[in-house]
Each structure stands twice: as C-alpha cells, then as structure tokens.
Symmetry: D2
Subunit: 340 residues, 4 copies
Amino acid sequence: MSKWMRAWSTETVGPHNLKIAERRVPEVGDGEILVRTTAVSLNYRDKLVLETGMGLDLTFPFVPASDMSGMVEAVGKNVRRFKVGERVISTFAPGWLDGLRPGNGRTPSYVTLGGVLPGVMSEYVAFPEDWFVAAPISLDAAEASTLPCAGLTAWFALIEKGHLRAGDRVVVQGTGGVALFGLQIAKASGAEVIVTSGSEEKLERALALGAGHGINRLTEDWVERVYALTDDHGADHIFEIAGGTGLGQSLKAVAADGRISVIGVLEGFEISGPVAPLLLKSPVLQGISVGHRRALEDLVGAIDRAGLKPVIDKRYKFGEFREALAHLDRGPFGKVVIEF
Amino acid sequence: MSKWMRAWSTETVGPHNLKIAERRVPEVGDGEILVRTTAVSLNYRDKLVLETGMGLDLTFPFVPASDMSGMVEAVGKNVRRFKVGERVISTFAPGWLDGLRPGNGRTPSYVTLGGVLPGVMSEYVAFPEDWFVAAPISLDAAEASTLPCAGLTAWFALIEKGHLRAGDRVVVQGTGGVALFGLQIAKASGAEVIVTSGSEEKLERALALGAGHGINRLTEDWVERVYALTDDHGADHIFEIAGGTGLGQSLKAVAADGRISVIGVLEGFEISGPVAPLLLKSPVLQGISVGHRRALEDLVGAIDRAGLKPVIDKRYKFGEFREALAHLDRGPFGKVVIEF
Amino acid sequence: MSKWMRAWSTETVGPHNLKIAERRVPEVGDGEILVRTTAVSLNYRDKLVLETGMGLDLTFPFVPASDMSGMVEAVGKNVRRFKVGERVISTFAPGWLDGLRPGNGRTPSYVTLGGVLPGVMSEYVAFPEDWFVAAPISLDAAEASTLPCAGLTAWFALIEKGHLRAGDRVVVQGTGGVALFGLQIAKASGAEVIVTSGSEEKLERALALGAGHGINRLTEDWVERVYALTDDHGADHIFEIAGGTGLGQSLKAVAADGRISVIGVLEGFEISGPVAPLLLKSPVLQGISVGHRRALEDLVGAIDRAGLKPVIDKRYKFGEFREALAHLDRGPFGKVVIEF
Amino acid sequence: MSKWMRAWSTETVGPHNLKIAERRVPEVGDGEILVRTTAVSLNYRDKLVLETGMGLDLTFPFVPASDMSGMVEAVGKNVRRFKVGERVISTFAPGWLDGLRPGNGRTPSYVTLGGVLPGVMSEYVAFPEDWFVAAPISLDAAEASTLPCAGLTAWFALIEKGHLRAGDRVVVQGTGGVALFGLQIAKASGAEVIVTSGSEEKLERALALGAGHGINRLTEDWVERVYALTDDHGADHIFEIAGGTGLGQSLKAVAADGRISVIGVLEGFEISGPVAPLLLKSPVLQGISVGHRRALEDLVGAIDRAGLKPVIDKRYKFGEFREALAHLDRGPFGKVVIEF
C-alpha cells in the first residue's frame, strides 16, 4: 500500500476552495480499522455543508461527504467486528447504535461524518470499527455506498418507525434518493406505492421500479387523485419531503390513523397545516433524521434477502467530484455516486 | 315514572333560542336502554356547536351536550350489557368501539352525541346500550359525567397512544378540563408534571393537585424553564392545547424522541413550527380527538383502582344551563357540570 | 330464488349422522343480509367440532363449518355496509371487530360460526351484516373462502401481532392451510421463509411458492439447519404449529429478541420447553387464535394489492362434504374447499 | 488513597474457598474510571455462580457479585460521562446499551459483571465508563446498589416491555428482591397489585408497601382468588418467578390479551402449561433477563421522580459476605446488601 493518498478537501466554508490534496494514509489506532474507499454517495446535505457550514463546528481542512463503501485494509488492536479484506459501509451518525438517539432536547445530537466528524471523500479513512457495518453481499460498491444516509432514512421512516405492512398505501413525494428508496422498500414490503413528481418521464421510471401509480403534481391535484386511487381511504403512510408540497396537503391526503414521515434538509423550512384533519384523523406526524446502526444492519439484511437494488442516476469518477455535486442541483432520479 | 320530562333544546343554530321544553319520556327500542340523567358535563365544543353549528348536519329541535352520567331505568329487548338500576356514562363517539377509528381519510368520522347524534341535556335519554359504559364506582354522578370527552381525551393521549411511563416529564398547557385530567392521569402514572398557566392562582391549585412545577407563561419563557427543570432533557410528552402557545414552542421544548399531543377545538386553527427540531429530535406529533369505548372502560378502571377524582370548578342546576355555558368562556379550572 | 335450499347438518355430536337436509331459505331480519354461499373452506377444527363437540354448547340440528364466500341476495332493514350483488366472506368470530378480544380471563370467548353460532355448509345463510366483510376482488369464490380462519390466523400472527419486516427470517412449520398462508404473507412482506416438512415433495412445492429454503424435519436437525442458513442468527419469527415439533426446539431456534407464534387446534396439547433460552433470548411467545374483523379487512386489502393467491389442495363439490372432511386427515398442502 | 485494597475472591468454583484478598488498587486505563465501592447488592445468581460456575468461562481468582454503587475516585483519558466525586452504579450486562440485546440465537450473550466479566466485591474497581450510570440522587449507597439487576429486571418486564398502565391488575409472585421491585414499580405506575406468598407475615409487609391484595398461596387457590378480586377479568400482567408456582397456573389466571413475564434463575427449569388458554386468550409470554443501560437510566429517573425506595431486608458489613450469601437461601423480603 502506498503511503500517500488523495482526498478532496477545503480550507473554508464555501465550495470554491475544494481541491484534491495529497495526504499520508492514516494509521490505525486502537479499535480502529483502515478502510480503502471504493465509492462515495452524495446527499444534498453535503452541498449545504460545503456552501453554508450549516452552523456546524467543522474542522479544517474539511473533507466532505458521509456515505461510503470500502474494503478493510488493516485493523488496529482490540478490533473484534471486522477482518482485513471485508467489505464495509459507513454509518452516518456513528454514536447512535440502537434505541433512543443521543443528545437531549436542548441540544439535539448532529454528530455525523462529513460534518462535525471527518468526511469520506478520501482514498482511505481510519475510523473506529464501531462506525462501520458489513456491506450487503448482493450490491456492488457504488450501490452499497447509498445506504448509510438515503437508504437508512427511508428504512427508518417506513419500517423501524412506520411498521409498514403488506397492503398499505404509501405516497412517496418525488424521485430523489430517499424517495426511491422509500418506493423500493415499500414495494418489497408488499405495499402499494403512489409516486408524485413534476416530470412525466420520472413517473414512467418510477412505475418501472414498481410504483403502482404515478401522479403528476403539476397537472393534477394529487390529494384528489390519492382519494380516487384508494376509494376515499387516503394514504396510510406519506413520505413527505419537506420543502416540497406542503404538509397541509399531506394532512388532507392521509388516511384516518395514518402516518406522515417528514424528511428533509435542515435549512430554513417551516411546517404548517390545518389542525382539523390532525385532530379528526389523528395521524402520527414524525420527523425522521436518518437512524441508528442496528437499523442499518437490518436494512443490509433486507437488501440481501429481499433483493433490493438501489437506483443510481449517475456514477462519477474521483476527479469529477465538482460535477457530481452540480448534479445534485438538477434533481437526480435516485443517487449520485463517485466510484474510486 | 312520569311520562313527561324536561330537556334543553333549540330550533336553530345560535344560542339565543335555547329553552327548556316539555317532552314525552322516550320509549326504549330493541337493544336500547332508558337512562335517567343525573349529571351533564360541558365541553367548550358544546358552545361552538350551539353558536356555529360547526358545519355539522344537526337535527332540530336540537338537544345539546354529549357527556352524561345516569341511572338505567328500563332496558329494551336483547339488551345484554346493562340492568335496571346500574349507573352508566355516555360515550362521546358511539360508533368507535376499539382499535382504529371509523371513517376514512376523505370524510373523517365525527358522529358524536350532541352533534350529528342527539344530545343529553335531557332528563331522560333512550339510546342503544352500546353507547354507554358502566360508571366508576368511586365517583359521584357529577364527577362521572366528566369522563366521556375530557377525561378520555387526556387518557387517550397520554396512555393509549402515549404509553406514558413512571418518571416521564410531562408538560401540560393550561388548567382547563382536559389539561387537569392530563395532570392527574400523568401524576397517577408516576410522571413528573409541569403545568403552564397565565394565572398564579391556578398554578397554586395545580401544584396542590400534584403538579411538580408550575410555570407562569406570561412572566417566564416556558421553554427555558422546562430545560432548567429537566437538566436540558426537555419534555418527554407535551400536552399541547391547540390555539394556546404555539406548536413551535413545543417543538423547541420537547425531548429527543419525545411526543407532542395536539388537543383542541376544531375551529380555525393552523399548526406551524420549525422543521429543524422536528427532524433532529424526531418527536411524534399526534392530534387527539377523544378515543374509543374500550379506552373509556380502561379509564373507568383506572379511576377506581388508582383513585383519581376529577376536578369540578362549579356545579350548576338544571335550570342554570345558560350560566354554565357562560362559565366556559371564563376559563374554568377543570370542569363545569350540571347536576339534575 | 327458490324457497328451498340444501344444508349439511347433524342431530348429534359424532360425524356419522351428517346428512343433507332440505330447509327453507331463511328470511333476513333487521340488520341482516341473505347470502348465497359460493364456497366453503374447511379447517381441521370443523372435524373436531363434528367428532367431539369440543365442549361447545352447540345447537342441533347443527350445520358445520365457519369459512365461506358468497353473494348478497337480499338485505334487511337498516343494513348499511352491503348491497345486493356484492361478494362477501364470513368472519370466524363475529363479535370481535377490532382491538382487544371479547371475553374475560376466566371464560375466554370462543363464539364462532360453525360452533356456538350456526355454520355455513348451507346454500344460503342469513346473518347480521356485521358478520361479513367484502371479498377480495382478485380471488375467485373458493380462494376467497379460505381467508376467514386460515388466512387471518397467519396474518394476525405475522403482521398484526408480529410486525414482520422485510429481511426477517421466518420459520414456518409444515405445509397445511395456515402454514402456507404464513409462507405467502411473509414472502410478500419481504421476509426470507424457511419451511419445515416431513415430505420432500411438499418442500419442493413450498419452494415453488417462494420459500427460500426447505428443511426435511425427518432427515435433518431443523434447529441446526436454521442456524446454518442464518449464520447463527436464528429465526426472527417461528410459526409454531402446536402439536407438531415441540416448543422446546423453537426456543432453541429462535433469534435473540425473536418471536414464536403458537398456532393450533385446541385439544389436548401442552406446551413445554427449557427456561434458559426463554430468559436469555427474551423472545415473545404468543398464542394466536384467528383475529378480528378489521384485520381481516386489512388482509383482504393486502391480498388485492400485493397479489397473493391462496393455495387450494383440492376443490370438492357440495355433495362431497364427507370426502372433503376425510381429506383433512391426510395432511393437505394448503386448503380444502367445497364449491357450491 | 491507599495503594492497597481488599476484595473477596476465590480460586475455584465452589463457595468454600472464598476469602478476603489484599490487592493493589487498579489503575485506570483509557476510557476507564476508578470507582470506590460503597455498597454491593447480592442476587441469588451470585450464589449459583460461586457454587456451580453456571457453565460460564470464569477467570480466576474470581471476584463475585455484579451490582454495586460507588464514588468516582479517578478518571482515565477520554472519559466524558463522569467526573471525580460523582456517584455511580454498575450495569449488569455492560455491552447492552439500548435496543436489541447483543449475541445471536445460537449463543445468547451472557456477558455480565461477576460472571464472564470481573465482579464487584472489591473496595475499588476500574472499569470502562460505559459500564456505569449515574446513581439516583434520592437513594443512599445501599439502596442504589439494588438497581442494576433486581430493579432493572422488574422495570424491564413491567415498563420497557410490558407498557404497564394505570389501572392494570398485576400479580406479583413472591416477595424477593425482583418481586418487591415489581410491586413498587407497578404501584407507582397506578396499577393495582396482588401479591402471592406462602407467608402471612410477608403478605402483611407487602400490603404495607402498597399491594392492594395479598394471597396466601399455601392456603388459597390463587387463580380463583385473582378471579374473585378482578370480577373474572384476570391479571393483566403476571410477574412469574420461574420455579415458583407453575406457568400453567399463570396461563389460567391471565386476562385475555394479558402478559406473563417469566423471570428467574437459569438452572434446570422447564416451563410447561396447557395450550388452550395460550390460544384462546392470546397472552404474550416473555422471558426477561435484566435489561439495557438506557432502561437503567430510565429507572434511575423514575426512582428520583416517582419517589421509590428499594426494600432492603438486611444490610451486612464487608466482612460478613458469607453470612449475606447464606441469607439468600432463607428467602429475603427484598434485597440483601453489603455496605463497604
């Protein structure tokens, strides 16, 4: 193994200073593993962190991005969970292993890779073994890299918190990375999925992925269409991408005793809606911000055993990081991944 | 039994036409029981129905109010659950026996006594036996009449949906009928209760009822006080009375993985709040609109076995119905009840 | 419609007196619907009731069987849920609509069709509308008739109580009617299904239905095979058919924090097993006895939206009721149905 | 601080070799804290480990016991959760922080203090900070030491898994350490508690602690008495101490949709019972083996906020360890504690 590696990094908030730096390959400490990065998947949040800092206490030089797959190249002392040669993926919020989230009400925890913790746009990383889980055996490196944030968010909303059941009617707003995971996980769980989008072409692709129905939210009243499609029952679960169609519409479209999962980036948005359907239908409304490591392990198992294939809109090369970031602004159909 | 009885009724929406009418005591049909009313408890909703109709398809002459206690005077054919001489209370939404609520997403069910169904401000009522449950043995008639709507709403939010646990920190907004039930049920379940109010005198009375802390929301920042009282943990459960302090404050004050129950009247309110704490703390936000009959039976059992005494601010006589309604506007401490 | 119909009935406990009787087509009472039977599905319980009475307070002449599909031929007064010409299926335990089961601990409720209530081996039945639910649109009459007991039992165990998730590893014991529903519902929910059987041929057919693995319990140690197949994880959910392989084996094979659903007939069996795995793995062990009407409606929705087809081993004609009963003793692969 | 300390230890399985040894006070490593032991609470398991080894891979010299309270005397590098001078209690199974238990189905995890990990009958221990939680502020050292195993087991069964509610009817078998915690936690949660015992004197003491009813299991049929006390409802939750009255009786006494928590030592016992009530009443039967750290933190909060005081039958001195162990065989009323 060479002693040198490349990493994308920046010295300041603001994306213009991003550049490829040469660095020494890190050494593994006690309880750490050295992982050779094989793919990194981007989230819109990565762009926000680079452009605004999101109010986080970043360390410079800052290496961006949180979601990676890789190969274990070396293990430190006292490492028990992994061996050299095994394939792993990162966890988005490493301190959250299972159960309740860390942090308190006053200061919610937001300790993530590519944020308060270092990022992964680097040919190697050396992190505590607890920050990783075994990669699914049925996915390639690029596909596996999409699970830690986008895949887990959808899984956590629909399965861990949402207890989705076969036959449930699920509305997924949009066709971005989290949304398509929502579509695929819901479909694999026996649900009927209704996708909304402003693009006929994307709706076609969503139908090909297993959606039962597509609604063009630009040309149709999606709430009315949901009622037409469900015989007035409404949606058992709405996958609300905050900042898209408002919560008010979701409160209208949700079934009695249904669930609305609010998913989204963390900048500048308010939720609002009428109180009458909230009272009379008594839906659960819950914000979802990724999930814990045990749920990521569950997702990996479901990927392998239920045969899910994440949707990658485009694969970029290591040197094309800026182009990949720019792609995020154009509304990808699924995920944007960088292969190393 | 006299063949004649008195009932408060009106021929039109608008409270000015309310008057006492003489009517024949109803006869019991198949599956029905005749109940002599011993007390009626008022809810703010009763005022709204009288004043605005609330958009409901009322039948005139309209007898108002939904919550009563009484004595079974006669039973119809095929009645199995009750015998003459037993004490009963009404159910607010008679069609909802257990589990999921009736109705669908497009047209949520709001079939209640003193609304689409007849009201109870009448010396006798003859209704299907399924519309009643046995009264608690430890309460007098006036106290028992407060359970069907106010008591059950608090129980459904905290216990049936909220799974409250000993040691939880609960914030109750205000000191109205539902709020004080929330305080008492939470306290009886081993929780620590923090009450907010604009009145020092009401806070004193809440402390005497078992609240651990009172916050004057006019002179203090209640969110900051909650954090001071909970060592930055926040509130595990917030009992949000819609239209009072905004949801935004509750989202700030709620603990990570906490719960906000939104309770309130059904007129004219919007909920709104910042999305960041909704995502980062992932609380459950749920509207609560009373509950099902099985939960009311559970509440009756808890009343008897845990020794709860509903708080009645003032007891009125049958002829004082107008005065009792007026009392609702002055912000009662607990319930307003009419004894027959 | 003819005024006369045929029904299988008996005057005594003991199957030998079963005969076809001519009876008048019943008239519909208030709240009742008249249903022309199109298919009846048999359960092993039907045999036990005929042969032993099962200690139930039967009414003679007794018409056996509980699970039917049919067509609404007439509706009584005050019927709201059905119209003439609609397809319906029966509910097994009509008094249980949703939520907690009726009855108390001392006298558990066992009020079912073809038991304390009349059976359905009759060309017409007139029952309260509340005893039926709408049939799935995607199944024929014979398939639809298999849902009320066998289908619902599997659904209730796996979904309503078991909260099965995609990726879960489910062990199904045997290939009878309930077991195959378990296999199909689990598979449609994204689970990996392992079927045990004493017959290689039945294992082949189970694999063709979507099972991931088959274990011959006569030639293999099924517990060891489960561990081999799950990398020592064990089974997240075991569908234990009481009286088959013992609970002790299931306690050995269950995963930590897993679930064992005990399903079975109600005669003469004890459960027993070692306490150590019960403590150290803390599985939930729950007996399942069919389920409520709302869950049956959920199952019907899942059938239509997830595309499940019940497995019918053999279809008999009305006159072949005795042959159909005899088939139950030979261990059918799926259900035995009588088409009218 | 002296460099020397005393610890009870043994070189072999078998209690006869227990003796007080002089050892060096341990030094704190990275992430560890040094804790001066102030009290140790004994469990019957401690006796079994000493007498039989329980099949565990013990390290000799072996220091017994798992449950302690103490004072932080020094902190190692990278310690974040505790400071010198803070009061702490140990966790029974240190690797289980929250959510699902560690280990798999084939090899359930049983990595506990005073077992595979070192014990606490020592004046000082140096363990990772993750193995401790903050002690409740309202308990003295002896009381606090009773929480890690006995207190948490009861809490985990009733609250974390059992979702106990005000008004529930709970049967607690016996008056040992776990049983009395069950009584107190249930009572503080608003439940009605029925205690069974073979001793009138212990029943009197249980009533004084808040039990609603006592049943002498030697002179009464406890199942019948439960039905008499609950108007045939049965017990919503039975706290079954394995090896005491059999599971079969609990299956008879449990309410429809009730819960039986099986708690007990891990030696030699079988559970068995009739399958009919398991099916017809569909209770949940779950083995409970202590619980995770987050639940222990919840219990500590409930102790402080709901005002629970653990029951200590007798306090011994450090030199009286053998006498304290002998006390366990005589069936203590609550806990046996050694004060340092």
